[in-house]
């Protein structure tokens, strides 16, 4: 029993240290936070995610994707209090000569790439979680971590494209699972965090 408790303590400490270190490693950036009805609404820009290469790819005609994840953390670490994630699917339609942007369920056409980037990466006032996520935490300091990715291959697509070969090979499934993580990760990504905010 004592041994198990020590192991749990060690794991908790390790996890805590890892979280703390990873939180400290995030660069701090200007992130607007506005609390409305107990829910934080954040605004930021992740335009620097778009490199010239990415811009070239966005103009190619093939579908690309931005995935932005915003998570609220307590300042002293631990698991996220709330998470908000959205994906922005974009492609240049050679047929109609417009950018098609899908943010949510309905695709919408856009004439200019800049407008697309503004829509996807200049984020204004998005809610992170629900009021219940922050209940009872008044005065507690939290921060918002943003992770924006360009063109990660979705898990479903990755599974569909990278399948283990048939024939009951023993190595196949194991290797594929490891390789998927590497191959299907985003082509580029930016991560940053907000300043510490006290929950009202």
């Amino acid at each position: 029993m004592k041994r198990r408790s020590l192991l749990t303590l060690w794991l908790a400490l390790t996890l805590g240290v890892v979280t703390l270190v990873s939180a400290q490693e995030l660069a701090q950036r200007e992130v607007g936070v506005r609390w409305q009805d107990g829910v934080p609404r954040v605004s930021f820009s992740a335009r620097d995610l778009v490199t010239p290469t990415a811009r070239h790819q966005l103009e190619s005609g093939l579908r690309k994707q931005f995935v932005v994840t915003v998570q609220a953390y307590r300042e002293h670490g631990g698991s996220p209090l709330a998470t908000r994630r959205f994906a922005c699917s974009v492609y240049w339609d050679v047929w109609e000569e417009v950018y098609w942007l899908r943010l949510g369920n309905r695709p919408e056409p856009m004439q200019r790439l800049e407008a697309v980037l503004t829509r996807c990466l200049d984020v204004h006032d998005i809610a992170v979680g629900r009021a219940s996520d922050y209940e009872g935490r008044s005065g507690e300091h939290v921060y918002f971590a943003v992770h924006a990715e360009f063109n990660p291959v979705s898990a479903a697509q990755c599974r569909a494209l990278l399948r283990p070969g048939g024939g009951g090979e023993s190595l196949g499934p194991v290797v594929i699972n490891i390789v998927r993580r590497q191959i299907c990760q985003a082509e580029s990504a930016v991560s940053f965090r907000s300043a510490s905010e006290a929950v009202p």
């Binding site: 050679v94 047929w95 290797v175």
Partner: protein, 510 residues
């Protein structure tokens, strides 16, 4: 955890070497083979092919688009359409537009409007307007300077667009795989290596478990050997398996048993020797005064001249008692003396069958000494022996004396329980594995189980007139034949004495 023994460490080392050598070899070979195999399947040539496929789709869509523009331009410049639009000739325009639809497969609908935006004529091919499998593009072209225009709805099959996106996804993942060739190949190698390590770990675990089974038993043997070295001959190591270690264990147990029996034999013979010395002295000390005592008693009776009949009778009784007790003492002295003078056995080659035959001839004498007429005795004494030679090395005289003792005891015992006949004594001889077996059994009262080992102790007797020397002599004689004697209950319910003496080996006949 207990530290493995030396042999255990060696076995573990052997298991580790046997398991690791193929692992290292296969890892070195496998690493190169896996990398080459991966590079053959995922290489830049295929990537370029996929890129060209994507470009092909892209060019095809561009061509569709250019064709759509050209078609729209052509319809906008169509003389008949322009003329009938200016004239606002609706019927003619309708014919013109139907002709346009039949002339251009990529046109789904055509609408002509005047400057006010009023539709003058339109035509549509519904099958070409199904957006589930076609893409639609609207293009407007002026028909005059006044504002009349024609709107052309151009269509293209959806499939190339979907294929283009799918090809793009495949090409993208493939190009990532190409870019990560070393990483993926290394993952294969390291996964293979890790799995092999698991196999080695399992093999090592099994090796440890199996070697433990052997080394533990060897350790038990070593510990038992140390105990034997300290003089503890009661050690017995269980030998449950069916292997060489079990054979070794069995041999060890046999050796310890032989040592134990040998030691018991020596101790018994020593004890018997001491008792013989005691018997010799006792016989000597008692024997000498017996004759003067008897003579003195007889002299007292002979010299009495008195007339008192009561006293004379009393004197005669006393002399009779003295004479009887002296006779008893004389018999005891004779037996003690006989026991003390018991010679050591001198073994010679003989056949058990001959020996049993010789023994049978002494049966009448034994019966007579027990007060029985040999021809009509109340006891049936039979001697039998297995047919065929049973070679042994025996001192026939000594062994016969031992058997005589056993038969006499048996006859006396069965006469006590069967005084009116029905008593049986069977003497049998036969071969039993590496032993010659002589058995004397009867249907008498038998010997209690708890006395089965004591009966061979000198001076142990349950009979009122016994000396307790008969069975001691039997055991001494048997031990000097390197044999053993045991007593138990026979099939007839009486006592059974089993004498085992080793068979004569083929090369020791002299």
């Amino acid at each position: 955890m207990r530290r493995p023994s030396s042999i255990g460490r060696k076995l573990l080392l052997a298991v580790a070497v046997v398991a690791l050598l193929p692992l290292v070899g296969s890892s070195i070979l496998g690493r190169s083979a896996l990398r080459n195999a991966y590079r053959m399947g995922v290489n830049p040539d295929i990537e370029r092919g996929l890129e060209r496929a994507v470009e092909g789709y892209h060019e095809y869509i561009l061509a569709l688009r250019r064709e759509a523009d050209v078609t729209a331009d052509g319809i906008g410049r169509d003389y008949a359409v322009r003329q009938h639009a200016v004239e606002a000739n609706r019927e003619a325009l309708a014919d013109d537009l139907r002709a346009v639809l039949s002339a251009h497969e990529n046109v789904g609908a055509v609408v002509v409007r005047n400057a006010q935006g009023e539709i003058l004529a339109s035509a549509q091919e519904p099958t070409r307007m199904d957006t589930t499998d076609r893409r639609v593009l609207s293009r407007r072209r002026p028909l005059d300077d006044q504002g009349a225009e024609v709107e052309v709805i151009l269509t293209a099959p959806l499939k190339p667009f979907d294929e283009y996106q799918r090809a793009g996804e495949v090409e993208e993942v493939f190009s990532r795989l190409v870019a990560q060739t070393n990483y993926v190949a290394n993952v294969y190698v390291w996964t293979y290596f890790a799995m092999m390590l698991v196999v080695v770990a399992v093999a090592a675990f099994l090796g440890i478990a199996l070697s433990r089974r052997v080394t533990r038993r060897v350790a038990y043997l070593a510990q038992a050997t140390r105990l034997v070295g300290r003089g503890d001959l009661s050690v017995h190591v269980p030998a449950q398996e069916q292997d060489e270690v079990a054979e070794l264990t069995q041999a060890f147990n046999d050796m310890v048993r032989d040592l134990r029996e040998s030691r018991e034999r020596i101790e018994y013979l020593k004890r018997i020797g001491a008792w013989q010395e005691f018997a010799r002295r006792l016989a000597h000390e008692i024997k000498n005064p017996l004759t003067p005592i008897q003579l003195a008693a007889q002299e007292i009776l002979a010299r009495y001249r008195g007339d008192d009949p009561a006293y004379r009778r009393q004197l005669e009784d006393a002399v009779a008692i003295v004479t009887e007790e002296v006779a008893t003492l004389r018999r005891l002295v004779t037996e003690f003396s006989s026991f003390a003078k018991l010679p050591e056995a001198i073994l010679e080659s003989a056949d058990l069958q001959d020996f049993v035959g010789e023994l049978s001839r002494s049966i009448p004498g034994i019966l007579e000494s027990a007060g029985q007429d040999a021809s009509s005795a109340d006891v049936d004494v039979r001697c039998e022996c297995e047919a065929g030679p049973v070679p042994v090395r025996i001192d026939a005289m000594m062994l016969k004396r031992a058997l005589d003792n056993l038969i006499r005891n048996a006859v006396r015992a069965v006469l006590e329980t069967h005084p009116d006949g029905g008593g049986k004594v069977v003497v049998s001889g036969r071969r039993e594995r590496a032993w010659a077996l002589l058995e004397v059994s009867d249907n008498g009262p038998g010997i209690p189980e708890d006395a089965a080992t004591q009966v061979f102790d000198p001076y142990y007797t349950t009979k009122s007139d016994g000396t307790g020397l008969g069975l001691a002599i039997v055991k001494k004689v048997v031990l000097e034949h390197a044999g053993e004697v045991r007593c138990d209950r026979g099939e007839a319910g009486g006592a059974r004495f089993r004498i085992r003496i080793p068979l004569q080996a083929a090369d020791s006949s002299t």
